[in-house]
Amino acid sequence: MSIIEVKNLKVWYPIRGGFFNTIKGYVKAVDDVNLSIEPGETYGLIGESGSGKSTIGKTIVGIERPTSGSIIYKGEDVTKGRNRKKLKYNRDVQMIFQDSLSSLNPRKRINDIIAEPIRNFEKLSKTEENHRVKELLDIVGMPKGSMYKYPFEFSGGQRQRIGIARAVSTHPKLIVADEPVSALDLSVQAQVLNYMQDIQKEFNISFLLISHDLGVVRHMCKNLSIMTRGRFVEVGTREDIYDRPQHIYTKRLLAAIPDINPRNRQEDTKERLRVEAEYENDEKAWYDKNHRVLDLKPVSGSNTHYAAVPESNSMVEQGGK
């Protein structure tokens, strides 16, 4: 049973203009997307900037309203406010943002920041609350003394850990982590990712990990999707996507990741230029006449792997030449 299921989600932003400020069209930030996340798993969502990743995340936590589609939690559609309340959805689903400084209130001390979600859902005495905040800080490796400080007194990595402590304070079932390590140095990024894995093990939390970094997602996620222009181009396990990519867009992303072995340089560049040329030559085949990503089709020989490939391509053998 999945912890959450996103069904046919569309989030369209109206573009207004003209004298009467009428709707001229829509930015289809999310355009018919499906995904489901298992309990205790980290699901990866990859895409370049503007592809619609954050919009999906925000719609799941309820900051954005869907244009259509549903989000099923415990069998009920939580795009309806009534169900959210009944299921304590806002307690069970939390979010971590990329820029922790602007998402943490600068005028509040860390203990208030971390305790705020708890106060919304539980009645704890001051001592109980303090105890809980200390526990939470400990989980993310921050000294207890941090609770009386302000956000600006911490480094980026520390603030991101505070963001995690706050997000886990209500014992959530799902955390949407939107580019949680994108602004961090490698060494600090490693630490934040390790803490995410620790709390996942300890509390059986599911993550939706939103990232543009294919290395980070490969490290963290068993299942993932690749997104562009508001649609999924490819969905599968990490082996499906990284070892047997089907969609030209996925291939292009993979070819662009810098390889850490300098001896592969020439070959990588050649492969990248080959994929890039292929992309330019038959880009049209991969999108419909409105530049919309095609519908996902199962990749034959697999029950986990789907790709938005053209008709003629959909029977390609997995791993075939």
Partner: protein, 334 residues
């Protein structure tokens, strides 16, 4: 002039760059020396706050003279740059040394069409006529892969994507065919596919003009992709210098090894990543004697560290500011 000397574009010796903080000066670049040769891409890599950008701004002479101090020597083809006045530096910048910075939007004038910004660079540094300048600008736009040079010439920066803006910056940086390009995190703000294109473009331009590039980044993948030589920077010092193969295949300094170890690799799902304990100290709290990295590897006994670390040659062109590399091990290795 002998061949080797002819190949040296930039020679930096014992560079110290200090900033004034609460009335006192602290070195952000603390005794750095490096040599950039023709046809060479020299990468500087390290965590943020290690002094990479300060090194770049020192080379191009763009520091605020009231709140900073530069000591030591930066020679461009034998000519000393430290101490040049603003006019002299203006001439060198653009003509001999081009610059590319991380944020292309702030480096462009928002109120000026991009074409005019390119021709302006040519106006200051060449004797070309207006028609020639325009022709050259269009060629440059084409050269850096702008699909519609004529149309783009008339656009304003905000009308272009981040990747396109970075191409404009590159076209300005190379407008006068400088021998040296200083690029400070030029791809950090870009998507990976755009990053790959910009890297290819810089490599091509470098080959074509036989120029030397100092390429600053915190991304080791990018280093592996682009660099010939690498300087690993920590707390204002170059702690290891070597060829790109030395650094990736035979890293010596504990800092270099720690950085390489913290990259998420293909391995098993959920493997623990290596964490470098602690963080780069702020300038005013930086220990100035002994080894600066020692506090971040507390399990290594003090006796392993050199009291005053000096450079040790460990291979042809491979130097480490360290002796403890001989006994260094990760905590989990024991």
């Amino acid at each position: 002039m002998d061949k080797e000397k002819d190949n040296v574009l930039l020679e930096i010796e014992h560079l110290h760059t200090a900033f004034r903080i609460n009335g006192k000066f602290y070195n952000a670049v603390d005794d750095c020396s490096l040599t950039l040769r023709k046809n060479e891409i020299y990468a500087i890599v390290g965590e943020s706050g290690c002094g990479k950008s300060t090194l770049a701004t020192s080379i191009v002479g763009l520091l605020d003279p009231l709140n900073s101090k530069v000591k030591g020597s930066i020679k461009y083809r034998g000519q000393e740059l430290v101490g040049l006045n603003a006019d002299e530096y203006d001439k060198i910048r653009g003509e001999d040394i081009g610059m590319i910075f991380q944020d292309p939007l702030s480096a462009l004038n928002p109120l000026m069409r991009v074409g005019d910004q390119i021709t302006e660079a040519l106006y200051y540094h060449t004797k070309d006529s207006e028609a020639e300048r325009k022709k050259k600008a269009l060629e440059l736009l084409k050269r850096v892969g702008i699909p519609d040079p004529e149309g783009t010439f008339r656009r304003y920066p905000h009308e272009l994507s981040g990747g396109m803006r970075q191409r404009i910056i590159i076209s300005i940086a190379v407008a006068c065919s400088p021998e040296i390009i200083i690029a400070d995190e030029p791809t950090t703000a870009l998507d990976v596919t755009i990053q790959a294109q910009i890297i290819d473009l810089l490599k091509d331009i470098q080959k074509e003009k036989e120029s030397g590039i100092i390429f600053i980044t915190h991304d080791l993948g990018v280093v592996a992709e682009i660099a010939d030589r690498v300087g690993v920077m920590y707390a204002g010092q170059l702690v290891e210098i070597g060829s790109v193969f030395d650094i990736f295949e035979d890293p010596k300094h504990p800092y270099t090894r720690s950085l390489l170890n913290s990259i998420p690799q293909a391995g098993e799902l959920g493997d623990r990543l290596h964490v470098i304990q602690g963080n780069v100290p702020p300038l005013s709290e930086m220990k100035r004697s002994g080894c600066r990295f020692a506090p971040r590897i507390p399990w290594i006994p003090a006796s392993a560290h050199e009291e005053n670390p000096s450079y040790h040659q460990v291979g042809d062109g491979h130097y480490v500011l360290c002796t403890c590399y001989q006994t260094f091990h990760f905590q989990e290795e024991k």
